[in-house]
Subunit: 300 residues, 2 copies
């Protein structure tokens, strides 16, 4: 199914609601119901892990991106929040530009916040210090932002990610990552989604980025869960497991009990993409989905 | 209880998690549980209205703010999203600034999106055209942004609002608004929260803003639900009912069946503020709250 056809079908069935900008749209009631059920299904699959829950807003301290060198890797994806700090005269100039549908650009200045590009970023600063011997395991869901406007419905500027994050010794992080590689693929496959997984790399910026991507692949630091949504040849990454090594532990002074820099890993499910995969594979009417899939999403 | 003392008490009980910037913090598991139960309680209170559900991301088309003249009224609160559109050389300059913890400012340019300052803004463009005779009633919850950094815990830069929105004839909007003035206050009072309601005005910018605020008060276009959280003398607005007249109908070409410009009204509950009011009034441990309050929030 072509990109446009899938987008149009989602609109036609009331699942998404176009709203003016590429990669930004509303979600209808049925879409949201499926998303809530899918998220609950994933959380039930991980419930015995006894992760600690928390929630962060979609904006974070700008300094967090500085500390993890985000702009070295993904300047083109950042979402920096700017506002107006001027006086009455400048305010009038700004309103005039708005009336004329012109750029507001240079009449604004940066605030102390940015949109978070990954749901787990705000967590790490809160873990600064020494971890308990068993490390930490946290779950959260958050809206993330990537500046990559596209008419392809799975490529959104703003979307939700369900994440689980493990922080501890190198072995704790690695073992947990390996467990989720298997579990994540199995959870998706149990919904009759034709899932594969593969080594992957992040979309690093520019020529230097090609090197960083190759290095990430070589270290097998990122695996993606892939399901055909838009194309059979280029299946969509609906989730990923990531081994960060000491990237966040070092940036935010997180240490293990023995004083070493903590390692971390995370698994994330792009909730809108997972929901779109369900619609793509099982049809646009959840009441007509296979009984086994319905039972798993709507148990009891 | 002083601002600082209440903030510290929320932190001490694991309800909120400081994260570097004023007005931006994490929410702990108990805070989130209460927030979900409160939201469900409000929705149950409105369930017979049969509102249509939808969901929008925290960013919206910049043109929406242009069309409603947002910058005339609230330039100081806006959150405009900027990103990087440059080449490799400029990217290096940007990364260098980030390494030095300097402003990224003028190396970025505005994107097509802004943070939504009210949860209902993205809805109106989707209603363009002619409404059914019964009008429309929609419910949604969303993260909103206001650039007003503060250490006062109820004054957040980013928070969630549960909204119900009525669009139709002037009489439909007015009747519904009047119904929610009573219902909203009763729902809060039924949780043993010492609620009052009063005419209010939005925080318009500058000297011209004083006139707009006076006019809004005179028209009784905004009523707030007020509960003492930080101070007895200046109770906190935990929600509001707003009559927009033809403001959004006119901006987005929404018409009633007879061809007239549609009127609209909304009611919004600041979910974090409502949760803080519960902790302030009933203590920091929900398992010790009055039985009647617990029964309403955790029924069955």
């Amino acid at each position: 199914m072509a990109t446009d056809a899938f987008f149009d079908a989602l609109v036609e069935h009331g699942l998404i609601i176009p709203d003016g900008v590429a990669g930004v749209f509303g979600r209808g009631a049925v879409f949201e119901e499926v998303l809530a059920r899918f998220d609950d299904y994933i959380c039930r699959g991980a419930s015995h892990d006894d992760a600690q829950e928390c929630q962060f807003p979609p904006v974070i301290d700008r300094r967090i991106l500085d500390r993890v060198d985000y702009l070295e890797s993904f300047p083109h994806l950042c979402g920096s929040v700017h506002s107006f700090f001027g006086d009455a005269r400048q305010a009038e100039a700004l309103a005039e530009r708005s009336r004329k549908r012109q750029s507001w650009g240079e009449l604004l200045a940066e605030t102390r916040v940015v949109l978070t590009p990954a749901a787990c970023y705000p967590l790490y600063p809160t873990l600064a210090g020494t971890l308990p011997a068993s490390g930490r395991l946290v779950k959260l869901v958050g809206w993330v932002y990537r500046h990559e406007p596209s008419d392809e419905p799975t490529r959104m500027q703003s979307f939700r990610v369900r994440e689980f994050i493990r922080v501890g010794t190198p072995e704790q992080a690695l073992t947990w990552r390996d467990m989720w590689r298997v579990r994540g693929e199995a959870l998706l496959a149990d919904l009759a989604l034709p899932t594969t997984s593969d080594v992957a790399s992040d979309p690093f910026f520019g020529r230097g980025g090609k090197f960083m991507a190759a290095s990430q692949r070589e270290q097998k630091a990122k695996f993606e869960f892939l399901i055909p949504v838009i194309s059979r040849e280029q299946p969509t990454a609906v989730g990923s497991v990531n081994l960060h090594m000491d990237h966040f532990g070092g940036a935010f002074a997180i240490r293990t009990e023995d004083g070493a820099v903590a390692h971390s890993a995370c698994v994330g499910f792009g909730l809108e993409r997972c929901v779109m995969a369900l619609f793509r594979c099982h049809g646009f009417r959840p009441d007509e989905w296979p009984a086994g899939v319905r039972r798993r999403l709507w148990p009891g």
